[in-house]
Subunit: 422 residues, 2 copies
């Protein structure tokens, strides 16, 4: 699919009867319509769509027969049934919801809930979580610190969308506390490792892609199929224990250093909502193999900021980056993921890899921002090299033209490591 | 848990009224009772237990009220509901089933099916598949071939149960065909990679452990808890594309080279059935950290043979190894997996890593058996360095004293790679 595909749901002049949605800096105008899963007062999980500071309860709306014909998809309180439907159904649902929320339609007694009154949950059941490494600047920074500044990028990086399978069981929704991990720690001069809480706990700013329609085992997807197969995107924080990582990662890659938690934002911004913000990737240093060629601009112009707040202190923005700088798109990653015949499934989550730009303040991890702890960053009331207990990291992201397509917040607070029980 | 815990279900004198179960070399005597999932003629999936050459249909037996009190666990046609129950329930179910199949009880019109009349399926829903690297001999062989024979083991290996997250969506049951993967291939002297079917397709002989009861995020398990948390074991073939692997694996580990298929045997041999075959691990080269210490012998004395059969030819046994030689037990791997606070879940599958012994004919992969293609192995009608289309690899494993606790077969046939579609 080459050029962006726009329809009436992208009309910048369109307004909602939900007044808060019409503010120019609102994350959730009628042109966005991200899906999420919420509950009230410990009740059952329901699917909703964010509009301004409200939620349209889609589970209830569907039960009232107000979402038109078609098999029900919101009754299970999770997005997978919709995500598994043919891609044309996603667009049709988006048009119907936009019609219900349009200023010209009026409220008509729809089931609305205030965002401040609900608890958010993981939007989808995620069986597979894969984390990539798609920022050339990030890979170069890491290679410079840990290998050789003259040959920072490994030879495969400019040819292969490098990635590894992560741990889906600890993907959590924004707001979930993250426990500092225990692990094997070994300084270069130590004789042997010791057991202890990580002392170099970090975050990584990423964009997450949620797979809608998958592929059968043994049948790879093209990049065009892969782009269309992605249902939507979230912000993603790939919490990382650098000291555990450096000791464990050879030769099979990161394992426990990344397994203790991955936070995603609760609202899934659909591929459809991002269509107007498609943009070209960075220019290619070396030609890519044809299976990675893209017919259209598959990157997205998404600003992402990262805030750090010590316990009881105000947050301070410590980085501002952009997903447009990613060298490999999610479509390329998904096509590569399926190349071997690996079956991709509805709900699979692909992390982009840490997003870093050329300038220091656009680097997406403390490892880079502090250059491996050498240059502490300023936070309210002090400085940080790596994260301390009680610290809260919050990512925020948006696309902006005449309206904003926002992702909301992706936040997590560090709690102390458990005591080890013999 | 220190010493093996034996009860009447381990009595070597016990016999079944299913006569085929009483032969001394039968894989499935009354002392084994492995669980599996089967269907007949495209019907619904049911849980069964193997006894001799028959299956006791547990889904039907339970529906008849003949498995005693307790919540139903077999109605869903998958093992997860039983696996998620408290560990004492596993032992109670084993005693009840042994009672029904005991020679002294008699057949009493139980729902029995011949193993030859059914199709087998994956025994459990597996959300997480993790592959370890626990054979010192295998890690040494690989390090000698690809790094440095003088320093073949990396420094972390004698301290850390090295592992990586694999791809659960392509774990398949014995008998499922495996499609040769496409991938990026690059010989050392090539300027750039090319796209093509893997030319160095291999198998890896492993033991798989299925997690029964898991742990909450942030709360690590001890090795004693981990040993008891494992519901049972299967044979596992970790199909591997060596040429894809060598180009992609730095720095984040194997990815597409292992993602196209992993085969497991259909019958889950319970931890209870393996109790009499617990044995000490190899002696420790360096002391392990206390969190990896084991109160009892957590290895198992399981012989595993590997057969290779070209298309239309008879199989030839090309290796014979033993799971007792694994340096790290599944209990140690599971404890390490949870150390960071990673949540482990019912149905998670842990591959032991390729099992290799000291002698050449005990090495568990073609990579080792042929020493990276240098010394072809003899097969019926020819030789092999790596696998050709149409080749069938079959693993068989068992414990043997006065009776045999067998795993049955873990088999897969290679079919040609797909054509690449632009």
């Amino acid at each position: 699919m080459s050029a962006p595909r726009l329809d009436e749901t992208h009309d910048p002049a369109r307004r909602s009867w939900v007044e808060s949605a019409n503010a120019p800096d609102c994350d959730f105008p009628i042109q966005n319509l991200p899906y999420g899963v919420f509950s009230e007062g410990g009740g059952a999980r329901r699917v909703g769509v964010a509009i301004g500071n409200m939620i349209l309860d889609l589970t209830a709306t569907e039960a009232q027969g107000r979402l038109g014909p078609g098999a029900p998809v919101f009754g299970e309180g999770v997005l997978n049934p919709l995500m598994a439907r043919p891609q044309a159904d996603w667009d049709e649902m988006r048009r119907r919801i936009a019609g219900l929320l349009d200023e010209r339609a009026g409220a008509r007694d729809l089931p609305m809930v205030a965002q401040g009154d609900v608890e958010m949950h993981l939007p989808a059941y995620i069986r597979g979580f894969t984390d990539f490494y798609a920022s050339r600047e990030h890979a170069t920074n890491v290679g410079s610190m840990f290998r050789d500044p003259e040959n920072a990028l490994l030879p495969n990086w400019l040819h292969v969308p490098i990635g590894y399978n992560g741990r889906a069981s600890t993907v959590v929704v924004s707001g979930t506390e993250i426990t500092r991990p225990l692990g094997q720690l070994k300084a270069p001069d130590d004789e042997a490792p010791r057991l202890g809480p990580s002392e170099r706990l970090d975050f990584e700013v990423e964009l997450g892609a949620l797979v809608g329609t998958g592929n059968a085992m043994g049948q790879p997807m093209t990049t065009a199929e892969a782009f269309d197969a992605i249902f939507g995107y979230v912000l993603l924080n790939d919490w990382s224990a650098r000291d555990i990582q450096v000791w464990e990662y050879q030769p099979l890659g990161p394992f426990q250093s990344k397994a203790f938690g991955t936070t995603i934002s609760p609202w899934v911004v659909t591929r459809a909502a991002l269509e107007p913000f498609r943009t070209q990737p960075p220019s290619r240093v070396k030609p890519l193999l044809p299976y990675l060629s893209e017919a259209g601009p598959n990157n997205f112009d998404i600003v992402i900021e990262g805030d750090l707040a010590p316990d009881g202190c105000a947050p301070r923005t410590i980085l501002r980056t952009n997903a447009r700088w990613l060298y490999y798109s999610a479509a390329q990653q998904l096509a590569h993921h399926s190349l071997s015949g690996c079956a991709m499934e509805t709900g699979d989550l692909l992390g982009s890899g840490t997003i870093s730009g050329a300038e220091q303040d656009s680097w997406g991890s403390l490892l880079e921002l502090t250059w491996n702890g050498r240059d502490p960053v300023q936070v309210e009331g002090g400085t940080r090299t790596f994260l301390q207990d009680g610290d809260t990291v919050t990512l925020r992201g948006w696309c902006q033209r005449r309206y904003r397509v926002g992702f909301g917040a992706c936040a997590g607070t560090i709690r102390p490591a458990p005591e080890w029980r013999k």
